[in-house]
Point group: C2
Chain length 205, copies 2
Amino acid sequence: MTEDIGLFDALYSQRAIRYFKPDPVSDELVHKLIEAATKAPSGGNRQGWKFLVIRDQATKDVIGDYYERGWEAAYGKDNPNPPSIQSHVRRSADYLARHMAESPVLIMACIEHDGGPSTMGRGSSVFPAVQNLLLAARGLGLGSCLTSLHKRYEDEIKELLDIPENVETAALLPVGFPADNARYGPTRRAPVEEVAFREKWNQAW
Amino acid sequence: MTEDIGLFDALYSQRAIRYFKPDPVSDELVHKLIEAATKAPSGGNRQGWKFLVIRDQATKDVIGDYYERGWEAAYGKDNPNPPSIQSHVRRSADYLARHMAESPVLIMACIEHDGGPSTMGRGSSVFPAVQNLLLAARGLGLGSCLTSLHKRYEDEIKELLDIPENVETAALLPVGFPADNARYGPTRRAPVEEVAFREKWNQAW
């Protein structure tokens, strides 16, 4: 337990963990993850987020199967021109796609909405909370990562989990203690100079 | 400067800061905010995020004007049935809408995309980074908040800032040192028991 980790330590060492020990994750820890999520910004303080905590193996198996099919369609054998991703990311993401159902806990982050079309703006109401959850996992010595390939089967997943019409799933978060070969950060990122502009687009920082 | 703040301290005391001192915010601090943002999860490590750092008063004035019009249309006098928001949130958000241009720095967070429709999923590539930036602001003693009412003038804003076709703005982040009347958290949030379900929707945690 490393609950006292510094903010910047956590920000700079959070990374996608996709290999987990089989050890169970207690309700107490899951509660802490979700509570941290609820402290994120919420437009008009509406707090439309919901978190489904899934431990049932049969349900995890079904979700894992959809996830693997989503992976094959997007990055795997069912896509003749898969997007280019770094080899180490591909390797671990491919592993996760085949072992999602073995994650000790799956958390499905959802967002209630007004029935309008799904726009990027809707994401502003839930992904900050997801990021808080992922940072809290880092702080508690847990691993997780932000996945969304289940979205290709949104309707089926919603039916499986009894999710109502006016709710959209946002992220499927596998949670567990990191396996011995899974390490926290640092992540490989472009320097600020490549992503920051001054005053207008393309004006060098 | 409180760069050593603990992770959970930051998560639990971050809140929207909408009143700022006029004191300038150095490039060094802005650099730290953006660097923290780049440590967020990025699908396939694509890092499609960009951050426009705006200090020019004329540009801030134009953006502030659009923002205020967006506020009036969504929550103010131009909406006969404005959404219900808590009175203290309305008061400070109304203040910000009229004083956005006085923010020492505006950061426009953007995301490159493939030209497809704007969906919630696109937000998963940028709002975790925005949340990292907001947490870093908390850690550095700065204030900010996640706003998006400028989106009602997306085309005009993109033209103003020379933002290309395949890029969408995600969030307008005013940044400054908190005014004396602006305090960090805690935020008012529903307990975990109201937002967490076990196994399926509506099954009590």
